[in-house]
């Protein structure tokens, strides 16, 4: 699905991501973990095209997307969320989501001027898609509310819906469960499961270990920009290198 080969990103003399190779399989939940500053978000930015890598290759279903601008990467089916999502606070949830499907539409200025059939058709499609995404994340009941009036957890779900409205094949979720309580965390885990059940590939960065260990099919561990381990939750949990990176070498403490 997503194949990354020897990916490196230098910021000045510092390697934020250093020679990372990994293969994310389709229809799986792939997690990236690591201490703060390990280069996880940079890794996402490289895949989604917001940053251009210094060296290495990124292949999406066999297509080389290494130096592609992010809007093109998105059109090829890479959706993503950010740690914080700025939305139009004084507009309804639904209004904020309609633009999510914009990348699958073609209407331009001329269509606006003459209110073309194509524009009308595409606007309906975008609205339907937004409703569909909203239904998927379970927020139909707040469709008409302003973003400013919904809860933190609902905002996070709206960010999911926005990514889903782009019709992605793979979604990159940057700390989806940060800042929500344990019960809501469980809700997000179920939502990610549901995404995979619907044929999506999920790739997430997360710090909540309980969630990751029970949810992920595969975990990659980054530390100081380098991949230090990879495998199933069980393998990663018992990997001494990982334990050292997290706990400073005290193996007993991890047990």
């Amino acid at each position: 699905m997503l194949k990354v080969e020897h990916l490196t990103k230098m910021f000045g003399g510092l390697a934020a991501v250093n020679d990372v190779s990994v293969d994310f399989e389709a229809g799986k939940i792939n997690a990236i973990i690591g201490p703060n500053g390990a280069g996880k978000s940079t890794f996402f930015n490289l895949i989604s095209g917001l940053h251009q890598p210094t060296s290495g290759r990124i292949l999406l279903d066999g297509t080389d997307v290494t130096n592609m601008p992010s809007d093109k990467v998105a059109r090829l089916g890479v959706g993503r969320t950010f740690q914080t999502t700025n939305l139009f606070e004084q507009a309804s949830v639904l209004d904020n989501l309609i633009v999510g499907h914009r990348l699958r539409t073609k209407s331009g200025l001329w269509d606006v001027l003459i209110n073309s059939k194509r524009l009308q058709r595409e606007e309906k499609a975008a609205r339907d898609k937004a409703m569909e995404a909203l239904d998927f994340v379970g927020l139909t009941h707040v469709a008409g509310q302003f973003i400013a009036d919904i809860t933190q957890e609902e905002r996070k779900r709206v960010a999911f819906a926005l990514a889903l409205a782009t019709d992605p094949k793979i979604v990159l979720l940057d700390e989806p469960a940060a800042g929500v309580n344990p019960e809501e965390t469980q809700g997000f885990a179920e939502l990610m499961r549901k995404m995979v059940d619907n044929g999506l590939t999920v790739c997430l960065i997360e710090h909540k270990m309980d969630m990751i260990m029970s949810l992920a099919d595969k975990i990659m561990v980054l530390d100081h920009g380098e991949k230090i381990a990879e495998g199933t939750p069980e393998e990663v949990r018992n990997n001494p290198v990982v334990i050292e990176a997290y706990l400073g070498g005290d193996e007993d403490a991890a047990a």
Partner: protein
């Protein structure tokens, strides 16, 4: 009670009532000067609608807007006075020139983000002023451009008269607002708003930043050019002062007061401030003592201006009213808020 009054303003009928009021205004005005002031307010409103596209919807603070207004005015002025063109061809040329220059400036300046973009366009605006002031062979320098043609009315109307000119400007204003309304509701308008929310998020939604920002910029400069050309046809004498940065800041004030990023805001802000300014003429420059603090208070407490505040208030009112009514029948219904939004 207030809510009912508010919902009236959101009905399509309110627009028609407003238009009818604008049409009968010359008959209601006590003298020709008032009609003239209103016509000039309409001209500025068109320019402010342009600023609203790039700054209000697309989120890029363009401080060269007054400069493009002046370019529109100068293109029309120089073509009709020095080159001897008649009004309407020169008018079309003014639109094309501001669109093309807008494209060229946009392609370069929009590579910059946020305040860097604002500072760059501030400089562009000043360069435009300097060109008009110093390039005497072309622009006549500080002397300005005289003998600008008035629009000819094809033998039907005489646009050198104030009242016919008022209707001409009104027609362009109505078209400008109509197009803005259509744009703001369309997928393209939503694309601009997505860019305002954040470059990175917009890109991750597959939006080509440069193409859409340049499009918004060109639209806004064309609006400015349209307003500038009408202005030149109205006052018939222009100078480098038309490109003064003051005009850009005036327009930003109109936009902030009326409601940035809203459809009614530019009209409301421009007309109210122009008339308040008129009625405070006796205070001369000291009226800024009044405007300054007013603007500060407004930006702090009503960041989306009068219109934005009104829409938010209406939305919340509709939300608190609708569950109260429907509580007995069923829970969770937000249909009313949806309707309010659609009419806005």
């Amino acid at each position: 009670m207030l809510f009912k009054l508010g919902s009236f303003f959101m009905k399509p009928g309110a627009k028609m009532a407003l238009l009818a009021l604008a049409i009968v205004f010359p008959a209601l005005a006590s003298n020709e000067y008032q009609v003239y002031v209103m016509a000039s307010a309409f001209v500025w409103a068109i320019a402010v609608y342009g600023l609203n596209i790039i700054t209000g919807y697309c989120g890029q603070l363009n401080l060269a807007h007054g400069g493009f207004f002046a370019i529109g005015a100068y293109t029309l002025g120089l073509l009709t006075s020095d080159a001897g063109w008649s009004f309407w061809p020169a008018f079309v040329a003014a639109l094309l020139v501001t669109a093309v220059l807008g494209f060229l400036v946009g392609v370069v300046s929009l590579r910059l983000k946020e305040h860097y973009f604002a500072i760059f366009t501030l400089c562009v605006g000043f360069i435009i002023y300097l060109l008009m002031d110093k390039w005497e062979e072309l622009t006549h320098g500080p002397v300005g451009v005289r003998d600008i043609a008035a629009p000819y009315g094809f033998g039907v109307v005489d646009f050198t008269e104030t009242t016919p000119f008022y209707y001409l400007v009104l027609a362009f204003l109505v078209f400008s607002i109509w197009f803005m309304g259509r744009l703001s509701r369309s997928l393209l308008g939503r694309t601009f708003i997505a860019i305002r929310n954040g470059d990175e998020l917009a890109q991750s939604l597959g939006i080509n930043l440069m193409r859409n920002k340049v499009l918004a910029f060109v639209l806004s400069t064309t609006y400015a050019g349209l307003a500038g050309a009408l202005y030149a046809g109205m006052v018939r004498f222009i100078g480098p002062e038309e490109a003064n940065i003051i005009h850009t800041f005036d327009m930003i004030t109109y936009l902030l007061v009326g409601g940035i990023g809203t459809l009614t805001g530019p009209l409301l802000g421009t007309i109210s401030i122009v008339w308040i300014t008129q009625s405070l003429q006796f205070l001369e420059e000291y009226r800024m003592i009044l405007f300054g603090p007013l603007l500060v208070v407004l930006v702090i407490f009503f960041p989306r201006g009068i219109t934005g505040q009104f829409l938010t208030w209406m939305h919340h009112k509709a939300q608190t009213l609708s569950p109260a009514k429907k509580e007995k029948a069923s829970k969770v219904q937000t249909a009313t808020s949806g309707e309010v939004k659609n009419n806005a």
